[in-house]
Symmetry: C2
Subunit: 255 residues, 2 copies
């Protein structure tokens, strides 16, 4: 059975302050929890129903609490609770410019929506992009809604929070790679030369890339619209745009 | 001032039953409301603050109610209320197979998430795709969360609800076009011949395209992953996948 304090701790994971204080975060669902366990994330507490099985080959050094479906749905943050949830230790991730050499990485400048953030982590995993660099005001990737939207991909992608301007200056000096930025006006991604290495900067949902960061971009790129409507959409959702751009980087260098 | 009944009517727009009964839907925000007005959608009721201005050249035959910011935020469904919201008449849209000839269209088989639905309508507009055909159990595109996520694009894209199997059979017989379907296994979109016309079928978030619909697909396609992780993501979010596929259809036929 779960103690009152354990329940309280789980519920507190919606708050950034409480996540920081405890250095924990919450993950729900078999795919997400098992992916994190397989990637050697440490779970001090794991709550599951009888239908859950740990990933094969993993020896757990974890407090396991078996509960009924009803009990799990009471503590779950999801509308459709799954058969497992766990508190994980926040990973310590070193930021290493050299590890980004000859690779594609993503920088996020003030992304606010948890769903967008989770989707971007998920597509980074899909496209084999290992590092996402975020401005300090980007939504916390350990927010339960973000964790949920990553569908386990957060176990394989490293997410860093930095002073983005300082970072990009060091990145450029260290690697010499292009800093691409997505703008409403720029070179057409389908005709522009996209290297197999570099940083792709994506901006905030409403305001785009801020000026100080835009000044560090070495190549502005854009996704062309194929609509002939005069009132056509002014932009794409940021996660959608990130997907199309990452896809085009991979396609144009691999086919 | 807004009457009690007007407030009640606005609040009821979260419910499909009430939308169907009244044949209305709710749109919020200047971009969305003005795009709909510009596309000649009829708004029986429009509530705005003093900072809102109607789109140029549009003569409104609408009940206009000016309220304070505080009053608007009380009736708004948004976390960050904007300066206008309106009730619009539901559009009557004819489904015409001939109008889909020589064009790319999208079919959605049981998409559930309003954010995904709205994002797909928005990207259809971006890529100049005029028609989206939905199975009867796909989330209602007049759900306020969907409307919000389209960012006005719903004014320019036609969304139809049909018995998807029957429709696809007629579509194929009428147009003779390919019916492409997105699957975890299929021809690589980057090497497969993608025509400049045809239907692209996208499946439900959890279960993909259902078997009866999959049987009507004439070409299964897939987005290749570039990850070398053995536990890599099994799939992309459906809106993300739709974006990448539509982009590749446009790129490969226009460049």
């Amino acid at each position: 059975m779960l103690s009152k304090n354990q329940k309280k701790l789980i519920a507190s994971m919606t708050q950034k302050k409480q996540r920081t204080r405890s250095q924990l975060f919450l993950a729900e669902g078999e795919k997400c929890v098992n992916d994190l366990l397989s990637a050697n994330f440490i779970a001090p507490l794991l709550v599951h129903t009888e239908s859950w099985t740990p990933p094969p080959g993993i020896v757990l050094s974890t407090t396991l609490v078996e509960v009924t479906k009803e009990e799990l749905s009471k503590i779950s943050l999801l509308k459709t609770p799954q058969n497992v949830l766990a508190l994980f230790q926040q990973p310590l991730i070193n930021l290493n410019n050299n590890a980004m050499e000859n690779k594609i990485s993503i920088a996020l400048d003030g992304i606010q929506d948890p769903g967008n953030m989770g989707t971007i982590i998920r597509l980074a995993d899909w496209f084999g992009i290992e590092n996402i660099i975020c401005s300090m005001d980007t939504v916390d990737w350990l927010n339960p809604k973000v964790v949920q939207a990553t569908m386990g991909a957060m176990a394989r992608v490293k997410v860093h929070y930095v002073e983005l301007q300082d970072f990009l200056q060091t990145y450029q000096a260290t690697t010499g790679h292009q800093i691409y930025g997505a703008f409403l006006e720029g070179e057409d991604i389908y005709t522009s030369k996209l290297n197999s290495e570099g940083m792709i900067v994506m901006g905030n949902e409403g305001n785009g890339v801020r000026k100080e960061v835009a000044d560090l971009v070495t190549k502005k790129i854009t996704i062309p619209s194929f609509s002939s409507h005069k009132n056509r959409s002014e932009s794409l959702n940021v996660a959608t745009a990130t997907a199309i751009i990452c896809g085009e980087f991979r396609r144009s260098n691999n086919y």
